[in-house]
């Protein structure tokens, strides 16, 4: 690691974390891509209006990349660049709420399991064993089979598929915290359980939970797009990335550009979340650095 010029002693833990994160170039690139994605979601309409991605033009169908159509056009002559650009929104609309709610449920159940040990923990672990015996993708498939594929149902499906892992992560983090001296100290001067949970355990677990959330975001991005790809997620007229690829399947020989660009968008999104997650983990706990 680079020698620190400034003494770390004068910094607050948060400043220290930010400083360490900013020293990690790879993670900064990841963060830049994430910020770019947020920028695209907010200002996508100004970069290239949604209209361009819907407007059909049969004379311009299946064109390769050009100055006018950066990523080329699809079978209906629609601009792929615009469709990929606006696809960001759909993926994030599913991935963000699903990840966030899964983490919140994880924190609540994890805290309960760590505190009201024994019976609650036992039951929770048995239930989790059952849920984790079903591969996440299949759990999501079963939910879509029951409810049907739509944006909202996909959030539910991803949520159900993700909760077991989040609860397990949260539980192990909280269990490791409960054994710490400062919790014993707080308990010894008479803090009640809810005070311990909300003032000590949850704030101290947040760092690790944010790391797991960023990495989950990457996993869910991949899962959402694969659900749409197999035709059980967002359906084609909507320019979701997986749906774009699903539509492009029949043109795999004649127009490979239809496949390359949406795929790179998914790859970059998942990669950047992973990079930010790795960087945060290293910044929060430098001992974990390899």
């Amino acid at each position: 690691m680079v020698m620190n010029k400034k003494p770390l002693r004068s910094m607050s833990p948060l400043q220290e974390t930010i400083y360490r994160f900013s020293q990690n170039k790879v993670s900064l690139i990841g963060l830049a891509v994430v910020l770019l994605l947020i920028f695209i979601i907010i200002f996508g309409e100004f970069i290239s209006p949604f209209e361009n991605g819907v407007k059909q033009n049969i004379r311009m169908r299946l064109q390769g990349p050009s100055a006018e159509h950066w990523f080329g056009t699809d079978a209906y002559g629609r601009d792929i660049f615009t469709r990929v650009l606006h696809g960001t929104k759909y993926t994030m609309m599913i991935a963000f709420p699903a990840t966030f709610i899964a983490e919140v449920i994880g924190i609540i159940l994890g805290a309960c399991a760590a505190f009201y040990s024994r019976w609650f923990d036992n039951i929770l672990m048995r239930v989790l064993d059952v849920f984790q015996a079903i591969p996440g993708q299949l759990l999501a498939l079963a939910v879509v089979a029951a409810l049907g594929g739509s944006l909202f149902n996909l959030v539910i499906a991803m949520l159900i598929a993700r909760i077991p892992a989040s609860v397990r992560t949260a539980r192990s983090i909280m269990l490791s915290l409960v054994g710490q001296e400062y919790i014993d100290a707080a308990r010894s001067y008479g803090s009640r359980d809810y005070h311990l949970i909300f003032r000590h355990v949850i704030p101290n677990s947040l760092g690790a939970m944010i790391v797991s959330m960023t990495i989950n975001l990457s996993a869910i991005t991949l899962q959402v797009s694969s659900m749409s790809y197999i035709g059980l997620g967002v359906s084609p007229p909507t320019p979701e990335w997986g749906a774009l690829l699903s539509e492009a399947r029949e043109f795999i020989i004649t127009a490979p550009h239809l496949i390359i660009f949406p795929g790179i968008a998914i790859l970059l999104t998942a990669l950047s979340f992973n990079l930010v997650g790795d960087g945060l983990r290293d910044a929060l706990d430098p001992r974990l650095r390899d």
């Binding site: 015996a133 591969p135 993708q137 498939l141 197999i230 390899d290």
Partner: protein, 314 residues
Amino acid sequence: MIKYIIRRLITLVPIIIGVTLVVFTILEMTPGDPAKMMLGDGATLEQFEAFNEKFGLDKPFVSRFFNYILQLFTRFDFGTSWLTSRPVLDTLKARVPITLIIAVSSIAFASTIGVSLGVISAVKQYSKLDYVSRLTAMVLAAVPVFWLGMMLAILFALKLGWLPSSGTGSWKHYILPMMTLGLPYSARILRSTRGYMLEAVRQDFVRTARSKGVPERYVIWKHAFLNACLPVINTIGVYMGGLLGGAVVTENVFGCNGLGSFIINSVKRKDIPAVTGGTVFLAMIFALILLAVDILYAFVDPRIKARYTAKGAK
């Protein structure tokens, strides 16, 4: 050892019952009347009633569930398809070998590449090879499986013409699915192997072995690697769930008629018993794989083995 295996097998029973309950409950939430969905609006009232009676839909949820569990454990019956009226198990039996070939070959492929490159990467930390393999692994871990499949198909099937891009027939058909599913997991295995190896080579016993003059090759493979092996095996087991889910998608990309495409098609046709059967069956395979990993773990780790062999089983 046998006692350990039997004990682990018995713990599978409640898991399988639980899995069935979860899948049953989720699919119970399907809106609409199954008979109407399957037979269409044109069918007569008698036809509806006959359909409901045939598939036990006239009975309440709890009795259907217990009946299913009973059938499953006594006769290994996974229910009857609404669409074809044939036992789901027949289809499962025909299709599971394809899924197993894809899953097993890709995990073997992923473990071989991931573990060997992971060890080399850790031993030669900060070398060029280390950077290149870590960078590749980082990208591959974020690649969507189906997209990788399409790209590999474009390269090897369409441009080079070396391999067939869809179907199942010869061993050649399985190479692309194996690479598609194996590459992202080899990346994940590489990352964790590297991490555990780095931890292992810093241990005192490794320094002791070196100072005794043990050749470097033995230090790495016998002392460090054997100790890093345990968490690596564990990680590979954890990845199996994702890998089986990925197999479902991979089959779809390459048009393989395995368990995955069966489940996907059944979801699309709203053939609920087929979805239930397929999902429970795949979960059972997953549970058996995890069991195999645990047994392997016990074999590799002398501490666990000793507990079960020395003083009799506890």
